[in-house]
Symmetry: C2
Subunit: 117 residues, 2 copies
């Protein structure tokens, strides 16, 4: 047996703001410096990746990804300060929650399931 | 903002064994003493409720719900010892994990999101 879980942040109306999908997408944009390359890495279309980012930006009321103008790698995209802040906050929360769920699964669920037999 | 989550237990092949749906269904069977009344309470058909329980039983290799024979309320259903053990173990784990996720959401996610601004 193992434990499965999904964790996300939503607004007060129940609209998702960030979950594992957007976390991976923002991380891939930060790593590749391009929405197109990030989309390719996650095997989704540019259109889908772009739409997911824009939907989150609209709900949050701030830009998460900005066009990178000029420079030797001009034409790419980068995370804004708000984008980094959201990614880092969620990634840390997600990691800590996952670790806690795994611990509780071992120490609470499996322990209870076995101790009562 | 608020946090959303789903937690379930699965077997090593990735098949779900118990999640919030089966937890509520087993609880309703324990409370009503009848799969039919439990299904009605959760607004699902008897057929759906019965199939969910049987699928979990098949995957777990044990009975969770048994027919109650005779007595003044004969004809109903009750949880087996294994059914109670699974329900109580998962309900306690689910409750503890939810509490921990809420605490981490407040103390980790919201704290990180705000402290970096």
């Amino acid at each position: 047996m193992k434990v499965g879980y999904k964790i996300w942040i939503e607004d007060d109306r129940g609209n998702q703001l960030i979950g594992e999908g957007l976390e991976q997408l923002l991380l891939a944009v930060a790593e590749t410096g391009s929405i197109n390359k990030a989309a390719g890495k996650l095997r989704m279309s540019y259109r889908t990746a772009w739409a997911r980012i824009r939907k989150a930006e609209k709900r949050l009321g701030c830009l998460l990804v900005a066009k990178q103008v000029g420079g030797t790698r001009g034409g790419g995209s980068r995370l804004t300060e708000e984008g980094y802040r959201l990614l880092e906050s969620f990634a840390e929360f997600h990691r800590a929650a996952g670790k806690e769920i795994e611990t509780l699964f071992q120490e609470s669920f499996l322990h209870l399931l076995q101790s009562q037999s």
